[in-house]
């Protein structure tokens, strides 16, 4: 499955819209186990992303590379470099021979892991992203995005009971248990936006 620049632009537009709508919830999760800025951070980034004109870019890869650079240079905090790297690597993978969205997703998530050195079970955005990628691989073709989003939602839900060992929430130790990881929650929104833009 190849990605058109229009699909990519629709994805980002929808992501910006979902994040705008849920920014307060994300910040509130971060208030409970972090520093109360996650919704503000990703909203600041995606507001800027929403000002990009997809028509300026020859293809989805070029456009999403710009998205990644925009997030890196506008968001800051932990989520800026992580989501920035995600889109940079995602875009780079798209330029590969015969690479589709599933491969790109894997590359993007790999970028997050390379940058943040976290694994599954550490209560980060990876709780949503890693199961999502597995679902994408398993369901490639048949209602893939439904499966991806469902897996991400389950993963984010599962982060609630975890004790954080990466990111700011890790300083809380046991007290980080009981709240969904804010990054996992925002990752779900980004994947929901992908489903909207790329069909079930």
């Amino acid at each position: 499955m190849a990605l058109s620049v229009d699909q990519a632009a629709a994805w980002m537009a929808k992501a910006a819209q979902l994040i705008e709508a849920d920014a307060d919830r994300l910040t509130d999760l971060d208030r409970q186990i972090g520093d109360a800025d996650h919704g503000l951070n990703v909203r600041r980034g995606f507001r800027e992303v929403a000002t990009l004109d997809a028509a300026d870019y020859p293809d989805a890869a070029a456009y999403l590379k710009k998205v990644g650079m925009t997030l890196v240079s506008k968001v800051g905090g932990a989520s800026g470099p992580l989501y920035g790297t995600f889109f940079l690597r995602f875009a780079q993978a798209l330029t590969g021979e015969g690479a589709g969205v599933v491969e790109a997703l894997g590359a993007g998530i790999g970028g997050i892991q390379a940058r943040g050195k976290a694994e599954a079970g550490e209560k980060t955005m990876l709780e949503a992203l890693l199961p999502a990628y597995e679902a994408a691989q398993a369901h490639a073709g048949e209602r893939m995005w439904d499966a991806v989003v469902a897996a991400a939602e389950r993963g984010a839900e599962a982060s609630v009971d975890m004790v954080a060992t990466k990111g700011r929430a890790s300083y809380l130790g046991e007290r980080s248990r009981g709240t969904m990881d804010p990054g996992a929650a925002s990752a779900v929104l980004i994947l929901r936006a992908a489903r909207e833009a790329m069909g079930a």
């Binding site: 208030r31 800025d37 800051g76 932990a78 800026g80 700011r168 130790g173």
Partner: protein, 325 residues
């Protein structure tokens, strides 16, 4: 939320506008990149020192830009690390050919953004020292390691003095690394702070309790305990530090720091208790500072920072700087 501001979105820009207006002769402010620079940044034959982080900790870092301390501070959004573009611009601006030291507080976001900037820089030698002095973060196996808090002030002051004297990048890096290895901190919050854009306190804390082992971003601490007397609080702050390293062999620099909303009256009172506790535990206090050095917006509370030092480090600490008192 009761704050003096126009809009939460523009707080940092407007802070910088005010800072520029207040210090036109000694500082240069880059409003595009949100940087505070020495007026003569890049023009003196010395190693450049760049630090930065989220805003809301003032005077750290912007207030420490000046002779004998920092050449530039990158001001992120409130409690949000700066982005690589800022760090890049600052590094280029302060480089006078002798290379640049980045002093980074150990938070995932800060570390990653400085890391990305360092990867992007061309033509300037950059070294990085990560400050991780908060003993409240006990087990680095299950965390991203200790947070950088009050120790950052020590590293900036001492590395800044050494750089001002003309040391090489390797020398400045070595001394910063040394201070960073020596320094330890522990903090307490009596109230939460309120992030302007969030509009309400980051955590709730009732009248009878305090949070022990807090950082500087309104993260809840590791433990919520009943409010203690200043006498007991001094022990609660000092004990975890003394347990963590040896403070009885070398003379020690001590800082009792306010988190933003704690009156000097209380900070000095606390210092009296801390000094007594430390003396009772075999610590020789060589120098001390009492005041607001690294804050957390409008949080009430205090932190204790200590570093055992050599004669050279003490001399660097004592070197006068117009931006550190």
């Amino acid at each position: 939320m009761k704050k003096i501001l126009n809009s939460a979105d523009t707080v940092v820009t407007e802070f910088l506008t005010g800072f520029a207006a207040a210090h036109p002769d000694t500082h240069r402010v880059d409003l595009d990149h949100h940087l505070i620079l020495r007026a003569d940044a890049g023009q003196i034959d010395k190693v450049g020192i760049v630090s930065g982080g989220g805003s809301g900790h003032e005077p750290l870092h912007g207030g420490y830009v000046g002779p004998g301390m920092l050449d530039a501070a990158c001001c992120g959004e409130v409690f949000t690390s700066p982005v690589p573009d800022q760090i890049l611009a600052a590094t280029e601006a302060v480089d006078a050919g002798k290379g640049v030291l980045h002093i980074v507080k150990n938070y995932t976001g800060d570390v990653m953004n400085f890391e990305m900037a360092a990867e992007m820089i061309e033509g300037t030698r950059v070294e990085t020292v990560v400050v991780a002095d908060d003993v409240a973060v006990q087990d680095s196996l299950y965390t991203t390691g200790r947070r950088g808090v009050g120790g950052t002030v020590f590293v900036e002051k001492i590395a800044g003095a050494v750089a001002e004297k003309g040391a090489s990048l390797d020398e400045v890096t070595a001394v910063a690394t040394d201070v960073s290895a020596r320094v330890r901190s522990f903090g307490v919050a009596l109230t939460s702070c309120t992030v302007p854009a969030a509009g309400k306190p980051t955590f709730d804390l009732d009248e009878g309790h305090m949070e022990l082992g807090i950082g500087i971003h309104g993260e809840p601490g590791r433990e919520r305990v009943p409010i203690a007397s200043a006498h007991d609080l001094a022990a609660q702050l000092a004990r975890p530090i003394l347990d963590d390293a040896d403070f009885t062999s070398d003379p020690v620099i001590v800082m009792v720091n306010g988190m933003g909303a704690t009156p000097l009256l209380e900070l000095y009172l606390l210092y009296g208790e801390v000094a007594r506790y430390l003396e009772d535990h075999g610590v020789t206090i060589a120098r001390c500072k009492v005041g607001n050095y690294i804050t957390s917006l409008d949080m009430a509370g205090a932190s204790l920072t200590m570093a055992p030092v050599t004669d050279e480090l003490l001399a660097a600490w004592d070197a006068p700087s117009p931006v550190f008192h």
